[in-house]
Symmetry: C3
Amino acid sequence: MNLPRIITLTTDFGLGHYVGQLKGVISGRCPRATVIDLTHDIEPQNITQAAWVLMTSVEYFPPGTIHVVVVDPGVGTDRRALAVKTPGGILMGPDNGVLWPAMSRGGNWLAREITTAFGPDTSRTFHGRDLFAPAAARLADGGDPTGLGPPVLNPVRLELPTPRRREDRLVGQVLFADRFGNLVTNLDRVIVAALLAGRPAAVHLADGRTVPLVGAYAEVAAGTLCALFGSAGYLEIAVSGGDARRGLDLAPGDRPEVGIGPAPGEGGR
Amino acid sequence: MNLPRIITLTTDFGLGHYVGQLKGVISGRCPRATVIDLTHDIEPQNITQAAWVLMTSVEYFPPGTIHVVVVDPGVGTDRRALAVKTPGGILMGPDNGVLWPAMSRGGNWLAREITTAFGPDTSRTFHGRDLFAPAAARLADGGDPTGLGPPVLNPVRLELPTPRRREDRLVGQVLFADRFGNLVTNLDRVIVAALLAGRPAAVHLADGRTVPLVGAYAEVAAGTLCALFGSAGYLEIAVSGGDARRGLDLAPGDRPEVGIGPAPGEGGR
Amino acid sequence: MNLPRIITLTTDFGLGHYVGQLKGVISGRCPRATVIDLTHDIEPQNITQAAWVLMTSVEYFPPGTIHVVVVDPGVGTDRRALAVKTPGGILMGPDNGVLWPAMSRGGNWLAREITTAFGPDTSRTFHGRDLFAPAAARLADGGDPTGLGPPVLNPVRLELPTPRRREDRLVGQVLFADRFGNLVTNLDRVIVAALLAGRPAAVHLADGRTVPLVGAYAEVAAGTLCALFGSAGYLEIAVSGGDARRGLDLAPGDRPEVGIGPAPGEGGR
């Protein structure tokens, strides 16, 4: 019997003791579970970032892994809590859209609302510890999502913005900045490669600048603004050895457009 | 045989390699132990914060868990090192009071000084790695605190401040700020509920302001100063989506009074 | 059969999801492995700091532990990836010198280049996840470094600076600042003790100041500049309860000299 026993955690809790308490609850209810921190460094309440991190990380974990996301501005309100079975694993989190990109990318899904009560004293402010942790431990211990509550057919859907074609370019936008200050966009390497069909590329920023598309940071001098496909396969705007948020004068939450297309040919002008 | 095999760590070491070395020592001496980081983000040398985190977290771990606290301004002096058996688990840490609130809350306790030497080269500056880690590993491996050293009957007692009654209000104070800037007080939900007896509450800050008591951050607009009972059951002063330290103009270490009582009735004035 | 099943990670990835993905890859390929974060808080691309952390930490882990270091400014270029067998454990990382101090300190070593491909889609920017993680998992699962690729006889050698004798002093230098702002030097306690031969010591900073050598922070008043031997046995310049970088007005990357010698005798002058 090869039960799923890995639980990943994705939160905006940072380094405090909240994550530790959550792990205590899991360890008490399912000592065999291996808990892996996916990240606790999501920007506070940034559902888009958490959704993207989950969507692009599921494939690196064994199927059957239980992925718990607690980025939840609506905690304490009557938003539902979900457990969703997908081919890549079980996704758990608030019904605020954060699970949707991973659900819809993964193909078919079956969602349940978590209505089981796990203790007499469910705090209104810490569903991670008092609701999601015990529910995840139950699943890690061999339980099935069907036992957690009734089916949900209309989960909140958070669609990440889709790039659009504009003349010979593909135009996407920045989704969020990672902790290094790299600006992660929605421009997917596979789609871009199809567009370019082998031609060299140019990356166009919203302010009119063109930056080089490189294969590695080491290809450009320190401090240089450049673009490269990150480890998840999405185009990132970066400053080699620096912070692209500052390089582009971005305010928090700014999500400027980024375009990519074939570089002007040598015969151009 | 169901030995305690969970060890939690609460330190002010932050993200450096000190925690990793400590885990290496444990893994070498008791590979079966599961180590859980409760937090390493205690404000440097803030014994009150560490004591509070330990006191409010023990209940979320299985009985028999070994809780190690290394927040230790006096390391290298002759302060004692303690291992304390309590109904909720074994508590280990310096004899500076940091264990006391959890000890006294948990009922009966039996304390030992750790006098066993665990190696020829005990560093004077890293008791976490060279003393507490091997001692915790020995207990996780089935050892008993009685083997670590002589009994201690007079541990240092750190009493957290107690709220006082003033007219119809309960007046407590801020204990520390968490990493979000929420100000955690010593006002306990159960005691406040008894005082209010169902009446609506008003929260009074030291500067005369009254802030609303809410059930969830989502109930107030972003940037609004409010009060709510946190996940440990204590009243917190918070700014929805912001930092209450700045909202109250606090200097580090400031611990202003906070009062709570029945809101003035509609027929009042 | 007692296979090495501990894998440590030392990176400059910080708190993001990159570390989590790397652990996902390991858990899928070797569920029995225990992964310990040595640190992810290496200053970005600071090879010297990572080399020092590895060198001084190996001894705290069981022999056979697999130590993976990913601090890799040259990722995406054609620098080699190494797996090195040493008496203390297996060291894995880029061939940029980061493994060398631990290799040379540990005595004999046998290095292999990792040329095995571990998947069709090796990203050019995340060797930690796509190359080192699967290679480490294979070794943790009982594999041998010889299966990873051809021998390497000429690894890049990063020599940490060596202290020099100047008159009656030993003169070393700051290697890096840790997260507390303590300045870690290359002055080793054992060598200094031989020099002093029991005489009291004086520590000389590059700006001419002399600071006291103490045994514990608690021996000096808060805010006082002092020197003490850290938990790894190297002299550190520190400000009790403060940040020595600011106390010495250092810019990032500054590595000033530090001297230590016998204090002027009472009969002096």
